[in-house]
């Protein structure tokens, strides 16, 4: 398996540009064709397939791509990513119902607002190391949710209802789908919108990853102190990672709220943050295709096996443990991350009390920092 994927990757790495772009376009078209009835009965026998594709599948994928920037690229542990999703969702709900802005205006506003909130959270806390950051982000997620719950001016626990849909352009019918009709009944137009948004996000993220910013993130992830010494302004780049991750979460929040009619604070529980984090690590943190695969599986499997309804979460939990034991680097790790992991800390630091074992050349992190 490893040798084969290596060969595929080598082949891919040396493939000429037009071949790659052909594949990209085919993938995009493939994604648009996914909500087909013909596979729906297999993919989602217990729920409507096109709806499932929008939420949870598509939503989880975009959120995972956003969280991947923070966790996978910059190596910062964020346990409260759902906060930015919530801020995006509430932006859509409040600006849409109170100020009557339309979806596209709110999309921009939501992205900016979440980016700002990412900076507000990151500013004072990003100087904290590893696990302190984790609990602070977790706390931030809860602060956002409970503040919404306690504030009657934004609906309190009732949330906000009557959120407008994106403006429709009726009459553009392709294969029997009115593709720009954002109504209630047909989820497919929303799914297409999500695919377009996700594609744009992937292109941006990929650009960043290959730029100076991406290299700075990798340096921070691998050894923050060394990066700082080498002249990388680590704080600035960490903050940037936070802001970009947050704005992707926020954008998804806007798109999601634009379909969902009403939202309330219980849509933004900690469990969602944990699930998205699981998706990132499961797929292969740092590697976008891996993260997409991870998010897809995490979202789709419980829906697919709704028939075993009772036991599906239990099986999911056990599967997470098993996967981490047998493939701790994720299903589709990037080669770079794999190398980092083999060397030791994988950017997140290894566990302490490492027993020097011939197979694992892990460097224990000193307890006293």
């Amino acid at each position: 398996m490893g040798a084969f994927t290596d060969r595929v990757r080598d082949r891919w790495a040396t493939a000429p540009g037009w071949q790659r772009w052909t594949v990209y376009v085919l993938l995009f078209i493939g994604a648009l064709l996914l909500p087909s009835e013909s596979i729906g009965h297999f993919m989602s026998p217990y729920s409507d397939w096109a709806s499932v594709l929008f939420f949870p599948v598509g939503t989880y994928i975009v959120l995972a791509i956003g969280l991947n920037i923070v966790v996978g690229q910059a190596g910062l542990l964020d346990l409260g990513f759902v906060a930015f999703f919530a801020i995006g969702g509430y932006s859509m709900a409040l600006l849409g119902t109170r100020l009557g802005l339309n979806f596209w205006e709110i999309l921009i506003a939501g992205v900016i607002l979440s980016a700002i909130s990412g900076v507000v959270l990151g500013g004072p806390t990003l100087r904290l190391r590893g696990d302190y950051l984790a609990i602070v982000t977790l706390g931030f997620g809860e602060i956002v949710r409970q503040t919404a719950e306690n504030t009657d001016a934004i609906g309190g626990p009732r949330g906000i209802a009557g959120i407008p849909h994106p403006p429709s352009i009726d009459g553009v019918v392709i294969f029997g789908v009115d593709i720009f009709h954002y109504g209630v009944l047909d989820p497919r137009p929303y799914y297409y919108l999500l695919v377009v948004v996700a594609t744009l996000i992937i292109i941006f993220v990929k650009r960043w990853e290959k730029s100076r910013v991406g290299r700075a993130w990798a340096a921070i992830r691998e050894d923050e102190d060394a990066a700082e010494v080498m002249g990388v302004p680590t704080f600035k780049f960490k903050l940037l990672a936070f802001a970009i991750g947050a704005s992707i979460g926020g954008a998804m929040g806007v798109v999601w709220a634009g379909k969902t009619i009403s939202i309330n604070p219980n849509d933004f529980l900690f469990m969602l943050s944990a699930t998205i984090l699981a998706a990132v690590v499961l797929g292969g943190s740092g590697n976008i295709p891996g993260v997409i695969l991870g998010a897809f599986l995490v979202a789709w499997l419980p829906e697919r096996f709704r028939g075993l309804s009772e036991y599906r979460i239990m099986v999911f939990g056990a599967a997470l443990v098993a996967l981490m034991i047998f493939r701790p680097e994720g299903l589709l790790p990037s080669r770079r991350r794999k190398a980092e992991l083999a060397e030791g800390t994988g950017g997140m630091g290894a566990m302490g009390a490492e027993v020097p074992d011939p197979q694992a050349h892990a460097e224990p992190e000193g307890a006293a920092k």
């Binding site: 239990m314 992991l341 030791g344 006293a368």
Partner: protein, 322 residues
């Protein structure tokens, strides 16, 4: 706004301290595992839950119909604490064996271990909701419902301070929690195994070279952390007389917060963080309303970390001596 707090300052303080003692006991498990393994043991909240379940099971088996008195009460309480402690310690060691050790041996990242912990946490919750509660507790189809536990001791008022009535069970909980922590402190600072734990958390490689059996140290760490959580579970059942498959989640997050507040990896910090958090929650609730309790707790956490980035007492087990 503040008159509510000032008007009933002592009741808020006492309830805050008792809640804080339970937070502190659970926080010890987080802090010890973190000190030795640098791992957030996310499934620790489920270890606590198992402690409450074991205690609830004992009460059920004893068939208590009315509160016990005298020797029966002492025996019952001991049994409760023993059952909670044993069940939790056992499951904590099992958890280490299954979900963490294989990762440790492979040199997996802490992120992978964290995901494994989240997976284990989900698994254990569902295991209780779907199997243990319906079949062992014989409550079919009610696995997700809250379970009441029969009262085993009369909740009489023992004394009062400044208008606050202090009940017997509250005193027992506070004294037991503090006692456990003093014992643990002695164990870590005065015994050979304690030295091993400190050495491992300081520098595992050197500890190995010096002949410390790291696997054993890790096992003992989980055992002690589990034991503390189990005792906390038993005391929790004694005070609140309810449990549920998901009871650990919120308490676990709070206890972890307490551990970080005090300085994660620091035993005395866990106690201090627990008591501090318990008080903050209650004072905050008194001033702003109970709905804001968690918001205040987390905001204080952020503030404390901004000024003391490694918690109130700073991290690391080896500094616990100071």
């Amino acid at each position: 706004m503040f008159d509510n707090l000032l008007g009933s300052f002592w009741p808020y303080t006492i309830d805050g301290l008792i809640l804080g003692a339970i937070y502190g006991l659970v926080a010890l498990g987080y802090t010890m595992v973190y000190g030795v393994l640098r791992l957030i043991n996310f499934a620790h909240s489920e270890i606590f839950m198992i402690g409450t379940m074991a205690s609830a099971f004992v009460v059920m088996v004893m068939g208590v119909t009315k509160p016990l008195t005298g020797l029966a009460l002492v025996g019952g309480l001991l049994l409760l604490v023993l059952a909670g402690g044993a069940a939790s310690a056992g499951s904590a060691m099992l958890l280490e064996r299954i979900a963490y050790r294989p990762l440790r041996k492979r040199g997996a990242s802490r992120l992978a271990a964290l995901i494994s912990a989240i997976g284990a946490s989900l698994f254990l919750q569902e295991l209780f909701a779907l199997v243990i509660i319906p079949y062992v507790f014989n409550r079919p189809q009610q696995g997700r419902n809250q379970m009441g536990v029969a009262r085993i001791m009369e909740k009489d008022t023992l004394f009062s301070i400044g208008g606050a009535q202090v009940r017997v069970d509250q005193v027992i909980i506070f004294v037991a929690a503090l006692g456990m922590m003093v014992l643990l402190d002695l164990l870590v600072n005065r015994t050979k195994i304690g030295r091993g734990i400190r050495a491992t958390s300081q520098d595992p490689e050197t500890a190995v070279l010096m002949g410390v059996d790291i696997d054993k140290i890790v096992r003992v760490t989980f055992l002690i952390g589990g034991l503390m959580a189990g005792v906390a579970g038993a005391l929790f059942v004694l005070q609140f007389e309810v449990t549920k498959f998901s009871i650990g989640f919120l308490l676990g997050i709070k206890a972890f917060t307490a551990a970080v507040l005090g300085g994660i990896g620091n035993l005395r910090g866990a106690l201090l963080g627990g008591l501090f958090l318990g008080l903050i929650e209650n004072y905050g609730a008194a001033i702003f309303g109970s709905g804001w309790k968690d918001v205040i707790a987390f905001s204080v956490l952020v503030l404390v970390l901004m000024f003391r980035p490694t918690g109130i007492l700073g991290e690391s087990l080896q500094q616990a001596r100071a």
